[in-house]
């Protein structure tokens, strides 16, 4: 990489690759950002402005009433709280189970563990629609419909495959000698996990937490199936149910969309400082 830049500056011949890559990346970035910018723009406009069809124009004035409406609506407080009450325990639960199973598959293999691992990971490939009716009947039978519990259980269960896969693969990179050294020093298997393997896995945990939290926070299907009353809805349902019967309040929808995506952004910003590599550097010769 360095050589390429060095030769680009010293030799007179023009290397088109960096420029081409730069253009491609810029186009991609604009494509990805455009919807968000559209939503941001519409959230700052009056309904009248929007009705005039100037979706991509800058707002005539900085109109913040949409945000005020959203943030003062008590129903939205409930939606946000409900979503948080689902996303936090479900994220924690699925990652905790993934850590335990991933550690066993990576460090304590047993007869048939490879097949069991494949079976668990295969769970990722089941479309949720396949288990929709059985789960509905199950939670109906348990009397848990229209509570937050079904979403928590379903997200923990459906998170196990990806969490197991990621944690197992990460633990596999923790050198076996570290575990053996800890065991000789008197650590139990649990202490090896909690004092050695987990502290080294912060990057993997950060990635997993962000992924799981975002996925659960943004989920629409399961709350739609399992909840009925307004005070059990999650924020994504709220977004839809906030539409008027005959008209769509685009400005308010835009503001709510932004508010709804804030928590996932915060989670990402919080964990991104752990997205560092090289935690295992220096453990063994390298």
């Amino acid at each position: 990489m360095n050589d390429r830049y060095a030769s680009a500056t010293t030799s007179p011949s023009f290397n088109p690759w960096p420029a081409a890559i730069f253009v491609c990346l810029t186009v991609l970035a604009v494509l990805f950002l455009a919807p968000t910018i559209g939503v941001l723009l519409s959230s700052l406009k009056t309904t009248q402005d929007i009705a005039l069809g100037k979706l991509w124009s800058l707002p005539t004035s900085l109109y913040l009433d949409n945000f005020a409406t959203v943030l003062t609506n008590p129903a939205i407080h409930t939606y946000l709280l409900n979503t948080l009450l689902i996303a936090v325990p479900a994220t924690a639960g699925s990652i905790a189970l993934g850590i335990l199973s991933g550690y066993v598959f990576a460090k304590l293999p047993f007869r048939g563990s490879d097949i069991l691992f494949l079976a668990i990971v295969a769970g990722m490939f089941f479309p949720p629609q396949v288990i929709l009716i059985p789960l509905f009947r199950l939670f109906n039978g348990l009397g848990l419909l229209d509570t937050l519990w079904p979403m928590i259980f379903v997200h923990i269960a459906m998170g196990i495959p990806i969490c197991t896969l990621m944690m197992r693969n990460f633990f596999a990179t923790v050198p076996a000698a570290l575990r053996e050294a800890a065991i000789i020093e008197g650590a139990s298997e649990w202490q090896v996990l909690s004092k050695v393997a987990l502290p080294l896995s912060l990057p993997a945990l950060a990635v997993l937490s962000t992924l799981q939290f975002t996925w659960i926070w943004n989920d629409f299907l399961w709350p739609l199936i399992f909840t009925q009353s307004d005070d059990k809805r999650t924020i994504m349902l709220g977004l839809v149910f906030l539409q008027g019967q005959y008209s769509v309040a685009w400005g308010i929808q835009g503001a709510l969309s932004l508010v709804a995506s804030l928590p996932t952004l915060i989670v990402f910003l919080f964990f991104q400082r752990y997205f560092i590599k090289g935690m295992t550097m220096g453990a063994v010769k390298g």
Partner: protein, 367 residues
């Protein structure tokens, strides 16, 4: 007093036997080196002593306590790994005191021992650093510190120097030898490097295919090997092996035509037995001593400054290495006469077992 006793130890993975009946008695304070080629089972044996590998049969006892099925932490051992195995997220101090903290030792005791260890290993200025901020030699010292802080009955070293560069390896070797003298602990050290074995060990255990070929002091193994394998493995450059025949009258006739009187008589049942003669490069001298003389065609001369090794070929086509301390000019393709004293020539039978002179045999029988 014995610190570690192995009795008829076996280890198999499925149908493959890795360790095939090892008996060993290691005395307190001894520095024992397991040496052998890759795959001979020396590391497996060390891991069995540590408890990281289970033992298929036989017993291991440490300080008169049967620990065959005792978990590693309760055996009273500590281990230094080839890869150091330092915990990368902990400081040097935390790495060293990891075991003490797991045992819930008192803060004062931990601090006192840490200071003591850091002092011995010259780690005091590095205690707050992370492993990745240390050089290879410093990391190895931290790993040794983590091992000695718990004051174990036996230290196990699994090829601890093989990741270091040549210069550092020599200085760490000296440090380990000094450390052993200072703390006087029982140490078991695995290496494939026979120089490390020769320089460090009180006792060398030469292993091959899961069995002990010979155990003894470095000098004994060097001068008096039991078989061809040990003779060839110990010593660098390795011992020369020349084919020949031992006549009924004790005369040895080498394939290259040279003859000499060995002072060893073959068993009466096998007159003219085929033998292998082993002679170390440095035992070739002038032609004046009583013994044999071989004519060597010089292929290449390796000059080490103080001495030089002549890589040559005998008339029979066999390769031979001769250490030459004379300062005469030697050209490639020249021919030299290399003599050796009969008492330095070791004879091995067709199975590779050492044939000892009757004197030696009598002396051994008397013991």
């Amino acid at each position: 007093m014995s610190t570690l006793i192995l009795k008829n130890i076996h280890k198999s993975f499925g149908a493959v036997d890795i360790i095939r009946g090892v008996d060993l008695d290691i005395r307190s304070g001894e520095f024992v080196v397991f040496v052998g080629p890759s795959g001979c089972g020396k590391s497996t044996l060390l891991r069995m002593i540590s408890g990281l590998e289970t033992t298929s049969s036989g017993t291991i006892s440490i300080r008169d306590r049967d620990v065959t099925h005792v978990p590693p932490a309760k055996r009273g051992i500590a281990m230094v790994f080839q890869s150091y195995a330092l915990f990368p997220h902990m400081s040097v101090a935390d790495n060293i005191t990891f075991g003490l903290r797991l045992q819930h030792a008192g803060k004062e005791e931990i601090a006192r021992k840490l200071t003591e260890i850091a002092d011995i290993l010259h780690l005091t200025p590095l205690l707050d650093r992370r492993p990745k901020q240390l050089s290879g030699g410093q990391r190895q010292r931290v790993a040794i510190g983590r091992a000695i802080v718990r004051n174990p009955a036996v230290f196990l070293f699994d090829e601890p120097l093989s990741n270091l560069d040549a210069e550092l390896r020599v200085s760490m070797r000296v440090e380990i030898a000094k450390l052993h003298r200072r703390i006087g602990a029982t140490m078991i050290y695995v290496t494939h490097d026979q120089t490390e074995a020769m320089t460090l060990a009180d006792k060398i255990i030469v292993m091959r295919s899961g069995k002990i070929e010979q155990a003894g002091t470095p000098d004994a193994l060097y001068a008096d090997p039991d078989n061809l394998f040990v003779a060839g493995f110990i010593g660098s450059p390795r011992m020369n092996f020349l084919g020949g025949i031992l006549e009924a009258d004790g005369q040895v006739r080498l394939d290259c035509g040279a003859t000499f009187r060995s002072g060893i008589l073959p068993a009466p049942t096998t007159p003219s037995a085929p033998i292998t003669l082993g002679i170390r490069p440095e035992h070739f001298t002038g032609t004046d001593e009583a013994g044999g003389t071989v004519d060597v065609r010089v292929d290449m001369v390796e000059n080490l400054g103080g001495t030089r090794f002549v890589y040559g070929t005998l008339k029979s086509g066999q390769a031979v290495i001769v250490e030459d301390r004379s300062e005469s000019a030697l050209r490639d393709g020249a021919s030299i006469s290399a003599g050796f004293p009969a008492r330095k020539a070791l004879l091995f039978d067709a199975e590779g077992r050492r044939i000892r002179s009757s004197d030696t045999a009598n002396a051994m029988a008397a013991q």
